[in-house]
């Protein structure tokens, strides 16, 4: 079943064209990796899917579960099951993780006609999820990402993903800046959440993450276009030969 259909997407930021006609189809149960050199538009694509206000879509469409995704505000996308793990998670001093997670969880539940959880029930849920990313329960009472190390922030992103159980998860360079232990934990969390009825788009600069999160498809993004697509072996080829040969071939 088609979950996400991106058709000839064009987008600009500050008047500069960044995406120049992206087309991509993601079906339920699939994991797609998007690779490419810096500045190729990978993060822009991830943020546009999540509804970041800093970009202007100048052409093309994104259809998510049959709906016009671009017409939906960011919060509605989240409530409909789209999740972006941020490359640079935002610090929110003064709001505890526990409160933020519960509010987010309940907003999503409410939007889907489900009952909200009270703080006690929610803590029970959190206990299981924390184990998945090997995080100390004490972090629930800390302010969201405030003073977190790079690795803690990324784990916190995966923890939110585990709590919200999205249908479409987009991981924007979740591996950058992680040591191998943190990378294993993060990848383990993502893998544990893989199901036939959900999908993931993994944006990365390095092949290393794909040893742990094995993709069904690999796409190379360069200059705002997908210049090559293939299976998981494409990632290995890129690792071995770099991006230049793909770019030249394109």
């Amino acid at each position: 079943m088609t979950m996400l259909e991106i058709d000839n997407l064009h987008a600009t930021a500050g008047g500069k064209e960044i995406l120049k006609g992206i087309s991509l189809t993601v079906n339920a149960g699939e994991v797609h990796a998007i690779m490419g050199p810096n500045g190729s538009g990978k993060s822009t694509l991830a943020q546009i899917i999540a509804g970041h206000p800093g970009y202007e879509v100048t052409g093309g469409t994104i259809t998510y579960e049959g709906r016009d995704l671009l017409a939906m505000p960011a919060e509605e996308r989240a409530q409909a099951g789209v999740f972006l793990a941020f490359q640079y998670p935002v610090e929110i001093p003064g709001v505890t993780n526990a409160y933020f997670f519960r509010t987010a969880y309940n907003e999503v539940r409410k939007a889907n006609g489900k009952e909200e959880l009270d703080p006690i029930e929610f803590l029970d849920l959190m206990e299981q999820k924390l184990k998945l990313v090997e995080m100390d329960p004490a972090m629930l009472h800390r302010s969201v990402n405030a003073g977190f190390s790079g690795g803690e922030k990324k784990r916190n992103e995966i923890l939110q993903m585990a709590v919200l159980e999205p249908k479409l998860a987009i991981l924007d360079e979740t591996d950058s800046g992680l040591d191998i232990d943190a990378l294993r934990v993060v990848a383990g969390g993502v893998n544990a959440l893989r199901r036939p009825d959900n999908a993931a788009i993994v944006v990365t600069h390095y092949q290393r993450l794909l040893n742990y999160i094995v993709p069904d498809f690999v796409h190379v993004l360069a200059g705002g276009r997908i210049v090559k697509s293939g299976g998981k072996e494409l990632a290995l080829e890129l690792e071995a030969k770099g991006y230049d040969w793909v770019l030249e071939a394109a």
């Binding site: 919060e75 996308r77 989240a78 409530q79 935002v90 929110i92 933020f100 302010s143």
Partner: protein, 441 residues
Amino acid sequence: MTASPPPYEQAFAALRSAGGPAWLPALRREAMDRFSALGFPTTRNEDWHFTSVTPIAERVFKIAPTRSGPSKLSPADVTALVIGDPAWHRLVFVNGRFESSLSNFAELPADVHVTTLAEALKESPEFVAEHLGKLASGEGQTFTAFNTAFALDGVVIRVPRGEIVEAPVHIIHIADAGAAGVGIHPRLLVVAEPLSQLTIVESFCCAGPLSGGYLTNAVAEIEIGSGARVDHYKIQRESTDAFHVGTIQVRQGRDSTFHSFSYAAGAALSRTNIYTKLAGDGGEARLNGLYLIDGAQHADHQTFVEHLAPSCASRELYKGILDGGSHGVFNGKVYVDPIAQKTDGKQTNHTLLLSDHARVDTKPQLEIFADDVKCTHGATVGRLDEAALFYMKSRGLGVDNARALLTYAFAAEVLETIELDALREGLEALAFARFTQTEQR
């Protein structure tokens, strides 16, 4: 406009029969003369550049009437009006007059002296004479002189050497319907002797919807001895048609600690002055505050930290959240004397503007005359962080919810520094309610 003296001579003459020790009329007369000579400050006065007191100057506020019969308020009413723990020692004033039936401070240690100013003038006039008007002399300060001339009552606290007062002393000033058109001049005198410890909460609030406006013009003098610590919390939630001026003058001895927190959410026009002199080596002053205003409200804070001895530290964090057409002012002055080497000072002021019509004037003022010092200041004025808003929305929070939570979080960062649980939790709940569901103050 300062040409004619404020029209309070007549009211002052009526006070003469107020009684008290022989030196008191002279102190008052001197203050009255000073008040008349100074007049109300204009915006040409550097200390009042951003705050016009014309609405105060153009009226004549009456002397608080002597109450006839007990207050209609019950102790439970008082508890509902204020933030704090009812178990704290409590002194309640209604329209400036002490209400013994609403007060309860019998549980204080026997050698800790807490009385009303009126009682102290009878019981220990020498002690009052020694301290009253010394830290807050009113020199160059209209409102302090105004208070000294007209202060009818207040609180006197003396904590003897080494005494630790566990529970806070909560001084509650309530304005009710009887406050219309009245000028209330509460006075607080605190002497914390060496190695003692005391926490004071001063709450200014109103009972029921009021009309007619009133003026609160409070003055506190706090002497902190060597190695002593005083925490002072000021919670200003006056009626939104009221005027509030409050001055807190502190002198700190060697290795002493003064922690101050000022919360300002009420009054049409408010000005809070918090001045401390770090007069002995190794003293520490922490001045924090939060102002939350809306509509046509104006809230001004002026702090002045004088580093007069070496190796003292001062920390200031003031935050403001301004909505509607409100106007906030923060003026943080720091003076470092030539002998105050190894001074460590840090001042921060952050303001969040929730509306296009709100505005803030923030003015750090550092005068440093010693060379081996560390003094920094920083100020920001801004709107809600767009990155944080998007982050929250991307987790499913609606825009109103996200904005409310971020606004609350901005306030929470400074409320977190309040060490009294009941006060911190109460103010957090108030701020949370204000920015999320219901409008409260």
